[in-house]
Symmetry: C2
Subunit: 215 residues, 2 copies
DNA sequence: AAACCAGTATATCGCTTCGATATAACGAAC
DNA sequence: GTTCGTTATATCGAAGCGATATACTGGTTT
């Protein structure tokens, strides 16, 4: 789950751990701040698996919006030289991570693997990365979530009506039902939009798309 | 977090693990089904801490809606005798847990401890158990959650407007903002209701209530 | 009646995640 | 020039999750 998020962020460019943590919350809209006790083991895991590798930190200016640092070896060397000559002591500096080709493969695998992580957070994450999916895969993702939410809504509605709950518990489940039906409407709107774009494939075709997984 | 939920359920009567798992979802409205790998270690933990103890399984009829099994020793014996004579269903290896006095103390502690578990799930759980809180403690709980949600909403709104997000990520954060503002309105309604009942303490006073924690 | 399958129930294993904490470097305030 | 806040990496123990193993029970098939 977290691996997918990290790989997704790293597609945009090289990042170090602290920055990844910030963007996980901001860009991907993940609910809770991922703790370092989660993030760093995850990065180490991915590095061990060969999905990312740490590169020398280049110019600490900004987030390098143009080229995602492909083949800027001379630049890196220059940055390293400058650092060594002027500021000195690179002891424990930033570790900047870069996605490898293997990592890109892993990314598409994790993104397409709908079985892993049936969480609501997992869905939000995958939808946030929807740009990397084909129209079909996106639609399936949305439909699957729609079914899950509908099922849960039925359960919650049933529990709210039949069971003997005191006022506070009832209050909570009723609000939960409200939220769920709101989610459901939202999902239905999105599905309708995808269906429309599927029948009129005008603009966005899936370039970096994931092949429609079997089943 | 889970400990509090278990103790809360056990206040209504004795339960075995499998039943606790079902009610966690139904009554307390907890999102995901708690897995056994979570539940049984938690029960063992609570038993080791003396908060619950396993008793002989009594009548498998229903959920004992009347008295929550205080001093019903003769009832247990009768149930056991009846079981042995008529239906003969000893249903071995069913471990029924009962709350101890120590467990009741732990329950009020966990319920009042607002610091632990700043999760949205922790809030829902505590509000579901709101009956065991004083009006003041409940109001504080609601206000705290209100502030948290308001803060998060500001962050999300900011991220949605300023940052460069592609259409899918934007879609997710916008829906998140929508959900959050809905939550906020709900919390404000609840707070207003609590304030009203605080100024006109007509009906429900906190009998099993928790003392207003310091700070 | 024996064999089989599905449901109920308890328990454990390995891995991931969390929260707290330690450590270190840097820049700014004082 | 030393203290302090921010940025940053790393580790530890506890808790949670998913998969899995193990039984007992009730109903169906053969």
């Amino acid at each position: 789950m977290l691996d997918l998020a990290i790989l997704g962020l790293l597609q945009e460019g090289d990042l170090h751990g602290y920055e990844i943590r910030r963007r996980l919350r901001q860009s991907l809209g993940l609910v809770s701040n991922v703790s370092f006790g989660t993030l760093y083991p995850a990065l180490a895991r991915l590095e061990a698996a060969g999905a990312v590798r740490s590169v020398a930190p280049l110019a600490p200016t900004s987030e390098a919006p143009s080229g995602p640092a492909t083949g800027s070896l001379s630049g890196e060397l220059a940055a390293l030289r400058a650092r060594r000559s002027t500021l000195a002591r690179p002891k424990r500096s930033k570790k900047v991570y870069r996605l490898t080709d293997e990592g890109r493969v892993l990314f598409t695998e994790l993104l397409a693997d709908t079985g892993a992580g049936d969480d609501a957070r997992a869905f939000s994450l995958r939808l946030s990365l929807g740009r990397h999916l084909t129209v079909e895969a996106r639609t399936r993702l949305l439909e699957r979530q729609h079914d899950r939410v509908a099922l849960r809504l039925a359960e919650v509605t049933d529990a709210a009506s039949s069971a003997e709950l005191d006022s506070y518990a009832r209050c909570v489940v009723e609000h939960q039902a409200d939220t769920l039906s709101n989610d459901l409407a939202w999902l239905e709107r999105l599905i309708a939009a995808e269906r429309a774009s599927q029948h009129q494939p005008t603009t966005t075709s899936g370039r970096h798309a994931v092949a429609p997984a079997n089943s």
